[in-house]
Amino acid sequence: MSSWINENGPLLFLALLDGTVTAFVLALIALGLSLVFGVMRIVNIAHGEFFMLGAVFSWFAFDLTDDPLWGFLLALVLAPALVGGIAVFSDRFILRKIKYHPESTIVATIGLLYVIQSLTLIVFGPEARAVEAPLYFRIQFPWFGYSGYKLIVAGMSALGLLGVWLLMIRSKLGLYMRATQQDLEIAKTYGVPTKKIYAAVFALGGGLAALAGVLVVPIRQADHLMGLEPLLLSFIVVIIGGLGSIRGTIVAAFIIGISDGIISVFYEPTLAKMLATLFVAMVLVLKPSGLYGEEVA
C-alpha cells in the first residue's frame, strides 16, 4: 500500500486537483440547469449554448480590449449579463408563449440550441479560438507545478456558488424562487409575480452557464460546438443530485468531477464518462428522484 502511494501519490494528487476544478465548474453550469428545472419545471436543452456563448463573448472581449486581464474582467461582467438578457428574451417570446408546457419546451429549447449555434457559427466562424488567461502563474508542488489560473477558476466558481446560495437563502428574490418552486399557485396568492420569477430564474441559469464559459475558455478554446459536453455532464449531475435540488447538484458535481479526474488520470477519460453514465442508470433504477430530490408520490 505504502509503495503504491509513494509511486502514485503525486498522480492521485494531480487527479484530485483537476477533479476539484472540474467539479466546481460543473457545479456552476449544472446549478443553472437544476434551478431552471426546479422552479420552471422545464428541461432546457439549450443550456450548453449559454455556456458556449459565455466563452465566445469572452473571446470577443479579449479581441476588443487586446488585453487578457481587461478582456477577462469585461467578459466576467458582460457575458453573464448578455446571456441573461438572451435568456429573458427567450423566456418572454418562446417559453411563455407555449405556456411552459413540459414537452413543448423540450422541442422549443432544441430549436433555441440550433438557432444560437447557427448564429454563432455565422458571426464567430467555424474555427476554435484561444483566449489567453488573465493571469499566468504556476504553483509549485513538491512533485509538479500546477496552473494557478485553474485554481482561480475553482475559487471563482466557488464564489459563484456561494453567491447563488446566499441569493436563495437570504434575499426576497430567493424566497420567491423557492416558494414558486414548491407551489406555483399558492405563490401567486402570496403576491409573487411568477412570470417575472420565471424570467429571473431563466436569466440566472443562463448567466451561471455563461460565467462558467468565461472562466473555462482560457483553459480550453472557444468554438460554436463546445456546449454539448457540458450539457450532457450537467444532465448527469442534475439527475444524480435530484432535479431542482441545489445541494444535490453540488454533491453530484463533486462525485462526477472528482471521479472523472481520478479515472481520467489513472485510466482513460472515456472510461470516466462511461462510468458516470452507468452511475446515472443506477441512480435512476435505485432512487429515481436522485440523491437529494423530492420523492414523487
Partner: protein, 236 residues
Amino acid sequence: MLKIDKISSRYAQVQVLKDVSLEVREGEVLGLLGRNGAGKSTLLKSIMGLVEVNAGSISMDDVILSELQAHQIPKNGIGYVPQGRRLFSELTVEENLKMGLLVRDSSKDVLEWALSLFPVLKTRMSQKSGTLSGGEQQMVATARALCIQPKFLLMDEPSEGLMPSMIETIFETIEKLKNENVGVLLVEQKIEGTLRVSDRIVFMENGFMREESDPQALAENPEPLAKYVGVKAHAS
C-alpha cells in the same frame, strides 16, 4: 365590501360556477355550504384569480379584482387559506409567515399579532413547515394569511383532517377575526361550528348559489341543510 356579481367560472372548457352573486361585509363571517363538487372551492379560487372568470365581476370596495392578475389580488387585502393547507413545505415556519408579511410590507407588529393567536408557533419558527403536525400546519397556513393584514379572509375547509381540539381553536380564531373587523368567507364541512361562527349561510349546488339563510333560522328549520348538504339534523 367584497362583492361577487353574477360570475361564471370555468376550468378549461368545463363551466363550474354559473351566475353566482354574493357579498361579504367587513367583520362578517359568511359560511358557504354545499356538497362536494358544488363549486365552493372554485368560488374561492375565482376570487383569488386562480380560476378564469368568464362572466360577471368580483370587486372589493372600488377595485375590480377580476380584472387583476392573480398575484396582484392579495395586495388589496385578500388572504387565502387553501384546502389542504398547502404550505411551502420546504420553507421554515418563519419563511412561510414572511411570505405573508411581504405581500403588503406588513410590520413586525402584524407578525406578533398573528403569533399571538397561535403562540405555539413561536417555538417552531426555524422548523421546516412540512415537518409539523396537521394542526400546527393549519395554524401556520392561517397565520401566513393573517400576515397579509387581510380585510377579507377566504378559508377553504380549515378543519379538514384535524382533531377536535384543534378544530375548536380554528373556530375560536375565526370569531376573534370577526371581532377584529376581518370579513371571512368560510367553506366548511363541519356544520355545527360553521353555524356557530357564521352571520349568514349561503348554500351552493352544482355551481349555482341556491339559497341564503341565517344560522338561527336553520336551527329552527334545518331543511336546507338536508337538501344541500345531506345533513338531516344538527345540534344547535
